[in-house]
Structures are given as C-alpha cells and as structure tokens.
C-alpha cells in the first residue's frame, strides 16, 4: 500500500508534535518528510526511528535545518558549514534544498538535493553516528526540482509508531465533549 504525500506530511507533523516539538518545528518536520518522500526516500520510517531514539549527543536535524534557513542571509554559493554531530543528517536535505540546493556529507558519504534518494541505501552511520556533518551550498538559484514520485512508502512498524505519537495530540473523550464538541445532535433522517 502506498500513501499520498499529503498523508505522510500530516502524519509526520502530528507525530512530531506528539513527540514534543512545538507546532512551528512540527510543520517543518512534516514538510521535510514530504520532500524526502517525494524523492523516493523512506523518510516517514526514518522519522519514526528518530523520534523513538533521540540521541542527546547529536543535534536535532530539524532544529539545525530550520536554523540554517533562518540564518541563510550570509550563505553564498560555495559556502561550507561545519555542523558538528547531527542525528539523521539526511533530514537536512530538504532545508538545503530550500536554500537553492547543495550537498550534505558525513565521513565519505555525500548526498545531494538533486539525487534520486530512493536508490540510496542510507547507511546506518548516517542515522546513529556521532561524527560531524558538513553542508556545502551550491546556491543554484533554481526552483526546487519537482518530486520524482507522488507516493510515499511507510512500513507497518513506522505507521504504528507515528500513529501512536500522533495520538498524543488527540484529546481523550469526555461526556461533555461527546455531547457538545461537534455541535450536532439533531436528527438527520429528514
């Protein structure tokens, strides 16, 4: 079964909020998962893994990515930024794409924003390593490439994890909310 990009974006956003992110960053996370999924990457599954096992020694890729974009005033084509250890740095790619495209490197593995990510086997080290990440901006002022696919993949385990986290944003029912929350209660059989 495949998912629409809108579905994985919404699920990722809610799961991120359920995992404790503020709404603003949760929106960035949803959008990053959509972008990566549209390039063929199993981004929703990776998010599920990441949200369950946040590593205190490595920076959050979403906070780093968002800060890169916020501070992008000084970024020129060819600019290289050393970021220190960043968890799951593949999540930096959507933010780099927002800034005109570029490359993200850890050790001897480099991914670029224009890659077809579906053929890349994200190495384990790319998720769990504590080594530093370097971003190099190409700064090609082009519109971001279109998605390669409009369908996203999501494993059963990933779906279960993200659904559970998203569920934390839903209010448990009360008698009052059952009666009044939706404002219905009139007969529809007319």
């Amino acid at each position: 079964m495949t998912w629409s990009l809108g579905e994985v974006e919404a699920l990722a956003r809610k799961a991120a909020r359920g995992a404790g992110y503020d709404w603003g960053l949760a929106e960035e996370i949803g959008r990053a998962v959509r972008w990566l999924s549209g390039r063929g990457g199993p981004a929703a599954d990776l998010l599920a893994e990441y949200l369950c096992d946040v590593q205190p020694a490595a920076s959050c890729p979403f906070a780093v990515g968002a800060a890169l974009v916020d501070l992008s005033g000084g970024i020129r084509p060819g600019t290289e930024v050393e970021l220190g250890p960043v968890a799951a740095p593949v999540f930096l790619l959507p933010f780099v794409a927002d800034l005109g495209g570029g490359r993200v490197s850890r050790g001897d593995v480099t991914l670029a924003t224009q890659d077809d990510l579906s053929v890349v086997n994200w190495p384990e080290s790319w998720i769990w390593s504590q080594s530093a990440v370097v971003v190099r901006f190409l700064g090609v002022p082009a519109t971001p490439p279109r998605p390669l696919t409009h369908r996203a993949t999501l494993s059963h385990a990933g779906l279960a994890t993200l659904t559970t986290l998203a569920g934390r944003t839903y209010a448990p029912p009360t008698e009052a909310s059952r009666v009044s929350g939706a404002g219905a209660g009139l007969a529809d059989n007319d």
Binding site: G6, L25, A67, T169, P173, G181, N189
Partner: protein, 557 residues
C-alpha cells in the same frame, strides 16, 4: 472622459476579514462551481453515462464520465440500501445511501472491483493515485419518498415540497487532495481544468447530482411501469445538499495564502466594477433584473436557525431599500457602481452589502472571470521564514495585522473561552470549553490572535535591530506564529481579523465563508457549528450545458 472616479482600492482587510462579514458571504461569479461550469461549456466537455447497473431495490453501481478535450474523468457511484436508523449526516457515520469516487480516466473492471471493496467503507477503505476524490451522500428521506411516489403514479412532485428541501441527497464529506490515499493536488494541479481551487470536488458534486436524479427516476420506474420522468425544468431545480460541520472550519486558518487569493480575487473584482466610469443600458438592465431575481431567491431560502432567520429578515429589508434606491437614483451618472456601493455601505446590513457585491459582479464576466486562474495557491512557497527581518519590522507587522488582538484583554476568560482540538475518538476537529474541560494540553494552533499577542509581549525590551533568527533561537515556540505573521504581512487577506477562541465566536461564519466560495446557496445553520447548504440548484446538467448559459441560473428566473 471627465470626472473619472479616483483610484478605488480593494476593500480594507480590517473590514473584509471580520468573521461576521465573512459569515455573510454569498456565491458570486468567482465561486468554484461557476468556474467549473464556464470551463465545461467553453471547452465543450462531453458527458457519457457508461454504466448504470442498479437493481429494483436501488443497489448497484454506475459510471458517469465527463470527456474534456484531453482527458476523461469518471464518477464511480455505489448505491446502497441503507436502513433508516443508520442515516446520519455526521462525518463519523459508517454507512450511507450512496458512496462515490472520482476516477482519473475511465475505470476498467478491475478498477471497479477494487473501488467496490473500498469506496463503500469511506474512511475505513483505501484508494490510490487514480482516485481524485472520495465522497458519500444520504437521502433527504421526506423528499425522496415524495418524488418516487409521485413519479411512480405518473405525476410530478409538488413544487412546494421541493422548495422546502431543495435536494434529494446531501453529501456529508467530499475528500480530495490526497485524503484516504487519493492523488495529491500536485498530481493534477498542472491540468488547466484543475488549476482553480476545488475543481475536482465541484466536478464530483455536479456528477453526483446527475447520478441522484437518474437514480430517483430509476426507482420510480422500478415501482411502476407507468412511471414518468421528471419535467426537465423542475428537475433542474434540484441541487445537491451538503452538511458541513466543524471539520471544515480550520481549513481557512490553515491555508492563509489560499484564503488571501480567494478573497483578494473577489475584492479586486468588486473594485474593478466600482472603477467603471459608466454602465451600458444593457448592463444596467441585467443588474436590475438580477436584483429582482435575487429578492425572489430569498423566498426559497429556508432556515429555522434564529440568527439566520433574523439575517434573512434584514436582507429582505435591504432588498426593499435597494429597489427603492434604484428607482430613485439612476445608474447613468458617472461612476454609477461606486456611487451605489458607497450608498450601500451606509444603508444596508452586512448581509445586504455582501449580497450586493456579488450582484454587481454579475454583468461583468469579461472584466472578472479571468481572475479564476489566480485563486489557487502554493502554501509551500510562503513557508520559509525570513530570518533577517528585524524585530522592529516584526513589531510593526504585528501592530498592522494583529493590532486588534494586541488590544484584547486576554486575562478575561471569555476572550479565550474555547479550545480547538482533535478528538481521539473520532479524529475530527472539535471545539471545547477551556475552563470546563481538560483540553488545553491538546490545543491546535488555531488561535492566531492570541498567539500574536503572546509574541508581541515577548518582543518587549528586545532591540529593534535584532533579527527574527535571533528571536527564534531564544523562543522556538513562536516559530509557527512568526511564519504566519510574515505571510499575513505580505498577503493582505491571509488573516482573519477576529478572535477564533472567543466565547462569542460562531464557527458557522468560517464554514459559510468557505462554502460561499464553493458556490453554496441557502445556508441553513443547524447549530452554531453545523450548516446545511445547497449546491448546483438550478444549474444545467452535464448533458444540457451545451444549450444553456453556464452562469445565468444562480438567481432563479
């Protein structure tokens, strides 16, 4: 030419974006179903009923296809035998009289089998990239039974009974844009027929109406060999009902650029008409005739909701004033529409002003209809935060867009009495009482005014030349609101100018604003958060559009 009016700007967002005014919206030339019918007519779409396999109990399926110049779109309809005790308009229902998918192309037998296993389940089923929408509808039992009885007896239904309801079925959800696994909007947004907003949903509902009318005649024929078909003129008066609850309310708040583009197009249309130096006798005659037809249309607008009853009363009085005014003040003076408009701003209720705005647009299709292509939006294009914006500029933007919110006394419980949340039980947006229920921890970001006031307070004492990027490092919790503010500062109609969590807020105002852009008529609130409407009532059917005017039906002749 002399005495040209001074440049007339579109209306001020501080006036237009108030909830009470948005909640008085009316359909107009740029409403989405009217855009659809104009395109279907201009491009000579061809209608074909490919399959109609429904038994005498009303169970089976049908395929209704529209052929555009380059493509085909098919409504796949499943008709069910629903026990009366399961008929519910609520989005949380699990069984319906009929269920539908809009299919991209012409479905083959395998597609129909797949859809037959999924579409009747609605939210519990799954669809894929070939499906553009998923929807369902329930009968208006009273009118349905009456129409089937009459036709089976060889008679036409009573006009009064039709006017009471206006439709044989009402949809209770039309899902598009990737919901339930359907195609994302990105898949189809490059097709010219789907460039304006909600064209997939409007096409779905137009074809549903066609199916429903065929079904009611089929059921009458199944009951009696001497059954008759509906008289074509009477048949056309049937619309499709829609029952809309809170689920739709957050949409306008969550799509600020889209909202801006809808309202902005309408306001530019109104401004263009007001700027006209004169009106031809034909335009004036057309307008006068539509005023009388719109006045008559009020008599067909039924509601029992006290707020709407009194608004319709005020609207009747407005139309009386307007008719009197038009008999005294000629429209052959310089800048006739602007004079009329300025008079209306002082003389008519908000409902009356908004109704007049829609009517003034009617004679001027060549001035207005081209704006349809400017009404969609790429929210993603406005997503990126400008981190270089200074705190001074942020503060100024806050005052400009959210001055009304900064001035609210948020310590007063009535000003934040409500909580927007999602219920775990039904996964639907709900509105709760902040001080009576433990809901605050689950609050959705749907109170932009209060959030803006909080941001403004946190800017206190910050240097003017510090940057937004600095602010967000110290206050990541404001990220959502800063993004929203920067959007609202660039797009004048992106933001509501009212408190969406106030004790006195009426969710139906949000619903009506959106439904009027769909092209809805006869708003019938069922509570403060639930409204029934009619779509396509009076409109040509797909197989008669070639012979009819795609626009001249929204005010019955």
């Amino acid at each position: 030419m002399k005495d040209l009016p001074p440049e007339i700007a579109p209306r001020d967002p501080a006036v237009v974006m108030r909830l009470a005014r948005l909640g008085a919206s009316h359909q107009h030339r740029l409403s989405f179903l009217r855009i659809l019918l104009r395109r279907a007519k201009a491009d000579r779409w061809r209608y074909e009923r490919r399959v109609f396999e429904i038994d005498t109990a009303g169970v089976g399926h049908a395929v209704l296809t529209m052929h555009t110049p380059d493509r085909a779109y098919s409504l796949v309809a499943f008709s069910h035998d629903l026990p009366a005790d399961q008929r519910s308009d609520r989005v949380i229902a699990t069984a319906w009289d009929a269920t539908f998918a809009l299919f991209d192309g012409i479905p083959d037998a395998a597609d129909i089998d797949r859809l037959a296993r999924n579409i009747p389940l609605q939210e519990a089923g799954r669809v894929g990239e070939r499906e553009l929408s998923v929807s369902r509808a329930n009968r208006s039992v009273r009118l349905w039974d009456h129409v089937v009885d009459c036709l089976a007896k060889g008679e036409q239904p009573e006009e009064a009974k039709l006017a009471e309801v206006g439709y044989l079925m009402r949809t209770t959800a039309v899902y598009g844009s990737g919901k339930l696994g359907a195609a994302d909007r990105e898949v189809t947004c490059d097709r010219p027929e789907f460039l304006p907003p909600f064209q997939i949903e409007m096409l779905t509902v137009w074809l549903i109406r066609t199916f429903v009318m065929d079904l009611v005649e089929h059921m009458a024929a199944a009951r009696s060999v001497t059954a008759v078909r509906l008289d074509p003129v009477l048949r056309r008066r049937f619309g499709i009902g829609n029952s809309t609850g809170l689920g739709m309310a957050p949409f306008l708040i969550n799509h600020p650029v889209l909202l801006n583009n809808w309202i902005g197009a309408r306001e530019e249309a109104l401004a263009r008409v007001r700027r006209l130096p004169d009106a031809t006798p034909q335009d004036v005659a057309r307008f006068r005739s539509l005023v009388h037809r719109a006045r008559h249309n009020l008599d067909l607008w039924r509601t029992s909701h006290p707020v709407q009853v009194s608004r319709i009363g005020a609207l009747r009085a407005d139309f009386d004033l307007l008719v009197t005014h038009l008999s005294e003040a000629a429209l052959d003076q310089v800048a006739p529409w602007n004079r009329l408009w300025l008079w209306a701003e002082g003389a008519l209720s908000v409902e009356g002003q908004e109704a007049l705005a829609a009517l003034m647009m009617e004679p001027y299709g060549d001035l207005i209809d081209g704006m349809a292509c400017c009404m969609s939006a790429d929210e993603g294009g406005a997503f990126r935060i400008d981190g270089d914006m200074t705190i001074g500029a942020l503060r100024a933007a806050l005052r400009q867009v959210y001055g009304w919110a900064i001035d609210i006394d948020w310590a007063d419980p009535a000003r934040q009495a409500r909580v927007w949340y999602t219920s775990a039980e039904k996964l639907e947006p709900r509105l709760g009482d902040r001080f009576a229920e433990p809901l605050a921890a689950y609050e959705q970001p749907l109170s932009p005014g209060r959030e803006a006031a909080r941001l403004f307070a946190d800017l206190d004492g910050q240097p003017e030349d510090a940057t937004t990027a600095d602010l967000l490092q110290a206050h990541p919790e404001h990220r959502h609101t800063v993004r929203r503010l920067q959007v609202a500062a660039r797009y004048p109609y992106a933001e509501l100018r009212d408190n969406t969590i106030d004790a006195a807020m009426l969710p139906i105002d949000l619903l009506r604003a959106k439904l009027a852009f769909f092209g809805a008529q006869h708003f019938d609130p069922r509570s403060d958060r639930w409204v029934r409407i009619t779509l396509f009532g009076g409109a040509p059917f797909p197989d008669e559009l070639a012979q009819m005017d795609p626009d001249d039906w929204t005010y019955p002749a």
